[in-house]
């Protein structure tokens, strides 16, 4: 028994240090420098854009535009900030074109110019506007300036217990010309905070988990495309709408998105899924690595994550004319929640952050950091391409052929998500694939895997063990997540005939010890609960009570009401173990989704399941002996702020 506890403690330490280990290894290659912010400035970054003379413009959530001279700190450790404009309504983007800054406020696309050259904006022109209802979730983003000067903006859905389009073009991407001509471009978006162009100039939009959105993802959009959330379809009858799908044709739960999209023109499935909590929880910025400084990754995308304060990498390829590809971890450990990224002239990456209202693993309320690329890159999976028989992996360096040709070093699992009105999705239809062959190609930088059991519409998790260079340098990130939407011509179809309509292997589990989550009053309680605690949530990832007081041994009925617009649980831990349990939940990876993020740990005493927005669950337990017992929401990333103490007296 004691040994068991020690084993678990050791395991937890190992897991913790593993996370730390990753950041240490990443930091050997990708340096992060913090750009100092004067004390008087709340630089809650909403947008970043460089001017023609290499100054960095920063839009803040408080409506200011700051211009930073020498953000590279070449001339001075303390770069100079000057206020270019203020008074804007929560600008969540910044762009620069021909001497002027552009941003979106809640209800309009605005151009800001300095017509007398004194460094301060004196002309604010409304290029185009749209109606808003006053709902807080009606954020607007953009403009992304296209090479021809046209601009793209996206409009969040309103939140009314679910995503809805309360006013025209909410849930859409719009194309707007400099003289204010608007064309509805695409819809099916829920919270399209991030979008960008890849090296070929194609448009990708990022989404976060929500209703109809099982997990984070990026989707390629052409004019007239539909990206999956049906609320925006409300406006497809309007003049100018390029889409003829009908809102009413969507049932509340429709199996798998990929299946439903078959045969429907312009119904775009994600090019790459970013599995929830494993590859972030809130994709937030897309930039393309177009310079030589990106080394082996030139031509690929970087995707930021707000909640996990990290950057991920995406490799795209076209199969049968459509994009698909893989995502990989890249760099963790930023100071706050990443919302925006912008390339400096020296091809370093500026990262703008804010965590107000949406907590992040980086603890700062806001910040600006700069990531530089190395001359010597680590051993990474540079690219992952689908073949007619499986996958071809390309590494950044030649690998040890003996290790890399051993099939037992490759593990692959396929899974997908539900397409439904409910918030988020468990991992469903999980199934192992068999890697039957690993052939080394050419100089040892490529390995060709023969894999059985691949499925279209599925994400394929690849975990690699032991692979290293001849010198023993290990893979920095030995995992990848490839989304298959299509197989190349000539594919041997026997390897992907596994039914993807098999029953879900799990449906949003709730830990593995039901005695910690008792949902009916225990039969052996002779009387009703002695204490009833009603716990709710507040916006900004908070429980509505931070202190609970109960008597030792009392019978407690705890009613947890999730009033928020995200998934939450309530986990009571052993004294002093709140942080640890939060970290354990974070480290559960894909398994976490189906265990409701309840770690299998002695430190977890009592818990609710992970429950949907606007739902409630009651648990019953007997208060333990006197002490201070932390309670947290163990959904990855929430426990840093969503926590409190149950004082047992």
């Amino acid at each position: 028994m004691v040994r068991c506890v020690i084993m678990i403690l050791l395991l937890i330490r190992a897991v913790n240090s593993f996370a730390q280990h990753i950041i240490e290894n990443e930091s050997k290659y990708y340096k992060i420098n913090t750009v100092p912010v004067p004390d008087s400035i709340m630089l809650e970054v909403g947008g970043l854009a460089f001017t023609d003379d290499d100054k960095l413009g920063v839009a803040t959530r408080r409506g200011e535009i700051w211009v930073i001279d020498d953000p590279y700190q070449k001339k001075s450790q303390k770069p100079r900030y000057s206020l270019f404009a203020n008074g804007l309504h929560e600008p969540l983007w910044l762009a620069y074109k021909k001497g002027a800054f552009y941003t979106t406020q809640r209800s309009e696309l605005t151009k800001m110019s300095d017509s007398n050259g004194d460094g301060v904006a004196d002309l604010f022109q409304t290029i185009y506007s749209w109606p808003i209802s006053g709902n807080y979730h009606e954020y607007s983003y953009g403009p992304l300036i296209l090479p021809n000067g046209e601009m793209l903006v996206t409009l969040n859905l309103s939140w009314v217990g679910r995503g809805e389009s309360l006013t025209k073009w909410r849930g859409w991407m719009l194309k707007i010309t400099e003289d204010g001509k608007m064309t509805p471009f695409a819809t099916g978006m829920r919270s399209p905070a991030a979008f960008g162009l890849n090296a070929s100039g194609d448009v990708f939009v990022a989404e976060n988990q929500g209703d109809w959105i099982g997990s984070g993802r990026i989707t390629h959009l052409n004019a007239g495309d539909f990206a999956g959330h049906p609320a925006g379809l409300k406006w497809t009858a309007e003049p100018g709408s390029p889409i003829d799908l009908k809102r009413s044709s969507f049932a509340d739960s429709i199996g798998i998105m990929y299946d439903y999209a078959q045969g429907k023109s312009h119904f775009k499935v994600p090019a790459i899924w970013f599995p929830h909590t494993v590859m972030g929880i809130s994709t937030s910025a897309i930039v393309s690595m177009d310079s030589d400084e990106a080394g082996p990754f030139k031509g690929q995308l970087l995707v930021g994550d707000q909640g996990h304060s990290k950057i991920m990498r995406a490799f795209l390829e076209k199969v049968n004319g459509q994009y698909q590809g893989a995502c990989f971890p890249f760099r963790e450990g930023f100071a706050s929640g990443i919302l925006r990224m912008a390339w400096g002239s020296d091809h370093s990456l500026f990262v703008g952050m804010t965590s107000r209202g949406w907590a992040s693993t980086g603890k700062d309320l806001f910040g600006l950091q700069r990531m530089t690329f190395p001359k010597q890159f680590p051993l990474e999976i540079k690219a992952m391409r689908i073949t007619t028989t499986g996958f071809e992996l390309e590494f950044t360096k030649p690998v040890n052929k003996t290790i890399a040709s051993a099939t037992e070093n490759y593990k692959m699992t396929g899974f997908t998500y539900s397409y439904r009105k409910k918030y988020g999705s468990p991992v469903i239809n999980s199934g192992d694939c068999n890697v039957s062959k690993a052939e080394i190609l050419a100089d040892g930088t490529k390995v060709k895997l023969t894999v059985n059991g691949l499925r279209a519409g599925y994400i394929h998790e690849l975990k690699i063990a032991n692979v290293a260079t001849q010198d023993g340098e290990k893979l920095l990130h030995p995992e990848a997540y490839y989304t298959i939407n299509a197989f190349p011509p000539g594919t041997d179809h026997t390897h992907h005939d596994m039914a993807h309509t098999q029953a879900a292997t799990a449906t949003g589990g709730c830990g593995n010890d039901p005695s910690k989550s008792v949902h009916e009053q225990p039969a052996d309680w002779k009387t009703e609960a002695g204490v009833t605690i009603i716990m709710g949530t507040k916006p900004g990832l908070k429980f509505d009570k931070e202190i609970l007081e109960v008597k030792a041994g009392s019978k407690v009925k705890l009613v947890f009401n999730n009033n928020d617009d995200m998934l939450h649980n309530l986990v009571i831990t052993a004294p002093g173990k709140g942080e640890e349990v939060g970290q354990n939940a974070m480290d559960m990876g894909l398994n976490g989704t189906n265990a409701g993020y309840i770690p299998d740990s002695k430190s977890v005493l009592f818990h609710t399941c992970l429950i949907q927005p606007e739902t409630s669950q009651t648990i019953y337990f007997t208060a333990p002996k006197a002490g201070d017992y932390p309670f947290i929401c163990s959904f990855p990333g929430h426990s840093f702020v969503m926590k409190g103490i149950m004082k047992v007296r």
Binding site: R61, G63, N86, E90, S107, F124, I132, G357, K538, S616
Partner: protein
Amino acid sequence: MMPIRQLSKKLVACVLIFYAPLTLAQNDSQSLPFDTLKLDNLDQFINPNTKNWQVAGNVAADRKQIGSFNDIKGKGILVYKPAKQSLPLISKAEFGDADIELDFLLSKGASFEISLHGRCNIKITDDWMKKANPGAKAPGLWQHLTIRFRAADLDKNGKETKSARFEKILLNGHEFENNAGQQAVNLSPKTINKSLAIIGNALPFAVRNVQFKTYQKDLIHISATNFKVYNGLHKNPDTLASLQPKRTGVTDTLSHLVGDRKSQLLMEGTLDIPRDGDYLFKMIAGGGAWFYIDGKHIIDNRGTRDFERAFYAKHTLKKGKYPFKIVYSNSDECLVLHYEGPQIPWRSLTTPASMRVSERFEPLEYEVKNKPAIQRGFMMHRNKINPYTASVSIPPLASAGEKTGNNYAYDMKRYNVLSAWHGRFIDVSNMWTERGEKQLEIPLGAKLELLQKPLLAILSSPEASWPDSAQTAEGVFPKRGYRLANSGLPVYFYTLNETSIEDYLSSAPQNEGLTREVKITPNAGKGAYLLLAEGRTIEQTTHGYAVDDKNYFIENLQAGSVKPILRRDNGRHQLIIPIQNEPLTIKYDIIW
């Protein structure tokens, strides 16, 4: 001059206690009618001195001339004129706990006091543009006073346990700083006089619309209340008849906590109505809620889950016991039932814990120093969100001395001034704290609400009705925006049918309000007009116009050779300017 005597220290207790809301989250948009003090004559007052108290049909005061005051014969307005022997005017009506509202209009420099029970006084002085009471308006304008008065608390033996006091005083909707001294009216000192007295001083003023509600102590009581809890949520309360409850019992309080979330709660018991009369019920609930008295449906919330939205229903009841029933479909844990009755102020039938309170944040003032400020956000306008608001603060001119700054809100959709206020700028706590879900800018002053209509319109004739928004397909003006003038203040610009406008607001001379300058470059022959003002009445004054029943002034109107038109549009008075074919600059002051 006046029969006033020093009063005991008791008066010191008549301090302002900030109104602690009775679990009320918002102001009530409906209430039972007030009693009105009839001002057809002076019959409502005890031995009025008709030398200095009269009634009139209309009054006017030149805001620039000390003591200047004119009245026109008629009734409805109480007028005070100083006389050799000025005496207080004492109501026959008696007040206990009471809500009192009235309008007053001062001549320049005038002051007066309102005294309740001969002990608690409110001193109104001409505080216009002073830092003490930034809610004060200019002399010659009607101002509004809101008073919540609590009579002294007495024990069984009639001994005072708590002095009489004001729980709330608002001047034009803004917190009032009361500087009444320790003085009381010399009434009958042996008895506690329960009247309201108005005490004039050296200069004339007028009072009207004296309305009040006085309250007794007895309330509605509930008793013998049983409850049943049913699984699930049901949109029709009658469904419950066919279902088995999962739990039943007796409750002594009304609250959603008697039931469970995502369950249906039924509470049935007896209401003891203390007095005959009209009762106004208010329901706020997250999820369907229904209230019945004596088997009759009284009120429901139409199944809404908006737990900030109130539903009202009036019902006449006789004193006595009635069965009642409440059904609640608990989606969001909020079940609130309030009532107001004959001589009963707003009270709650449900417990405080049964209300779900929206998150409140620490105040966060947008402080304005020497430079103008502009901030876009949402703002409440006539009880609705206007999500297109730009608030602008103009700091006081250096020459203004003790005077306050001016602020206005501009509608960035209709391109017109929405509202204006003296004093501090805005609170932004619910924009810049956490997610900022409400995004509301809250003016830190007494807001003068103006129009939510465009300044510029094309009319087919001078009689045509004024549109509510820009006359374009999208309802917005093309080529719009603002530039910042050297002053740092915005100049708004836009076009309509090629007629282009520039609109600039700055502080009026002496900081007394706003000066507006509108430059029009017309497109020949398009029938363009500007809407300068709209209101219940627009009256001409020595300096210009008194708008909306003397709510504010328009003064120093300069419109070249163009003559403004006073007209009516849907029963409202409007002041409009026809645009000719020549470029024109129009300038006027908005004074309040």
